[in-house]
Amino acid sequence: MPDTSWEKPKNFHTQRRGQRLKFIGAGLIILLAVAALLVSGTLQGARYFITVDEVLADASYRGRTVRIAGAVAGETIEYDSERAIIRFEIVSIPSEYDDLAQALHAALQDPAAARLKIVVADAAIPDLLQHEAQAILTGELGNDGIFHASELLLKCPSRFEESTAPAGLSQIPEHA
């Protein structure tokens, strides 16, 4: 028959404290490991999300991976389907705006707004790459003044946002 006792062993509390410390220690090690993972990943992969004006004005951004956003000038879109290369131009939009669709439209109407040539290599041409789309690009501005993008994200707010008072509806109703 095994030995049983109703009493706690004399060193019960010390044992429990020791066990607790071990768990806290292990927890801290895990926490530090996760923190190290996050910090090293962030240091390696972080890139600024800046405007076209900023990337053109500051030479220190040349050759560095950055993220930029601009309005797509539809007439400049070219696709070399043999070599799978997309070329187009974007126009600078401000970093803050109330209405994206309006900001894109206004930027493309402004002849003084800064323009940037974009090249995306080895890519299928996205359906959303259209005039007045917002292009969000990750890549590097080369010494040739062309932005070489490795990632292209597009938004077409004017096409899908809820309509604001379409003027066509104001024509006098037939039964009025």
Binding site: V34, E151, R159, S170, I172, P173
Partner: protein, 690 residues
Amino acid sequence: MAAEIGLASLTLAFISAIYATIASLLGGFRGEYSWQLSGRNAALLTFPLLLLATACLVGALLGEQYQLSYVYDVSDPQTPPLYRFTALWGAQKGSLLFWALLMSAFTFGAIALNWRAERRLMPYAIATMMATLAFFLGLSLLLENPFERWWVLPEMPAGEQVISSALIPPGAVPPAEANLRAGAQGLNPLLRHFGMVIHPPMLYLGFVGFTIPFAFAMAALAAGDLSSGWIKATRRWTLIAWIFLSIGLILGGRWAYDVLGWGGYWGWDPVENAAFLPWLVGTAFLHSVMIQEKRGMLKLWNIVLVITSFSAVMFGTFATRSGVIDSVHSFARSEVGFPMLAFWLVMTLIALAATLRRWQQGALRDEHQFASFLSRESLFVLNNVVFMALFIAIFWGSFGLPIVSELILGKEVTIGAETFEFYVVPLFIAMYLLMGIAPLSAWGASSARRLGAALRAPLAATAAIVLLLILLGTDPLVALLGYGIALFAGAVAITEILRGARARRQTLGESPLRAVCALFQRNQRRYGGYIVHLGVTVIGIGVIGSTVFQTEVQHTLTRGDTVAVREYGLRFDDFFRAQAVDGRMMNISAVTVLRDGREIARLRPRIDDYPQMPMTIAGAHSTLENDFYVLLIKGDGARATFRIYINPLVNLVWWGGILLVLGTAIAAYPKITPAPRAQKREELAYDDTR
């Protein structure tokens, strides 16, 4: 008429939800049953009211009532009936109403199932659910009203004559029907896909579902009853929420794969990540909840997890709908951003403050201490740490870093997909290893020796398969390691099922099939969980195969030409234009897929010309081994350019998803055990005394 009835129902539902919140709180804090009952009835009423409101909007969509600005925005006379119906969740206004309908349906279900058993908690739970519902209904009524209509004000100057209003402005006349029909926008072509038909409702069901455990946790905190009662009441709700969220995520991936045309299914887009975050916390909770049930431990942690999952749901909803985040999903930009952010903050702070108060009172003290590193509870805690680390890493990369950098540096800093992969790969490896080891350890304490013995069979099975893969010429090493780790987790699940069945056969003499069935019947949660683990294993193998071994090429072919891509060939046969029933023109290429010179499939990748944009529709030949996925880039009768992807094992991602859902359904399926008569009598007697 539909607009008027819908608006009235929506308003009444809003008033009912506010009343239910106040009455339930009064009933709960004062202990007055009449208030509790009144609050409950008002909460129940929201469901039929919102059902009516939703029916009105669906009626207006199907009946082409373009005077409703929502109908005008999301459909046009060419929209087929199915997409007219699914346009209910095609944009902000409709989807908010749909969200509210689901919330009221879940509240209805929670009251029907839990009112008797959890009488003490229910008033507070109802108050929480109704406060959430009232908030969403408020948004719907005041900011994003789906029953707004176009009106023309002939007296106003040109340019200000057309307004959208829920109520009829004085002197207003409706616009001409012909103008409405001519101007209607039509549904975003990107959303015309079966994945998009089901993906949003599934995601919403998941999101809304997580409100129920949160409501019960808040109730437990308010009532001061922090035993495991609230957990037992909500465990199944959590599983239901988790199942829907899982389906939503899988279908979202499938939609991206089929529609976005980049040969992938997960792009670490902030909005995708926002839906993944509550899933991660929910998964952690589903594991740690077992420790509280079995050992009375992690009470504080479980409350924090439930609050975090709800908080993540609210944050995800904000992220998806506010449009403040640059994402492919940001077609729902609107004014609801700030109120949602405020609601998220207020609810999270209230919940955390209530938890802190109860913790200080000592109501969340654990009944046992951790005894051994290798006990099941310790390994489950480690699993929770991994899930929370994934949560923190993904949240940091998607939202934390951009926000913090903007605040400190004045410039936004972001990270790309490769950094997300850097974060998550080691954490997923830890997750798969724990998925294998934890189920083999024992509650309380487990020795390394015992655990080692239990690991022998699954490790041997894994080693045998990896060896076979090496002999078949699989490389690189990283893929083999990945396969090995994923297979190990699956091997543990299979060996555990087989071990259980063998034990039954030996003791009860059952046939193998009967033994397996009985095993699942007797312990649905455990064995349903193993099926989920198997599903995750299959998904892991699919992800490794389709990322490490993907081939992507682009070729221009003249008609009749064939190009070789790995063991396949693609022949360009024909090109023609055709008109679809909804009027859009389709540019269709006819191609033949060959393998070892044999024709194995004929595909028709095409480009559809929608008024808003062209839409590339891929052609795919799918087998378990590979997906041969072709996009038509451009073409005419003589030449066409194709982008070709070969995605090995990608279909395992979807099949694994099905297994995962099946396993969760087994775990969540209610056990039908007739209540003993005495217990029933007792319940009735309790009812009569109130």
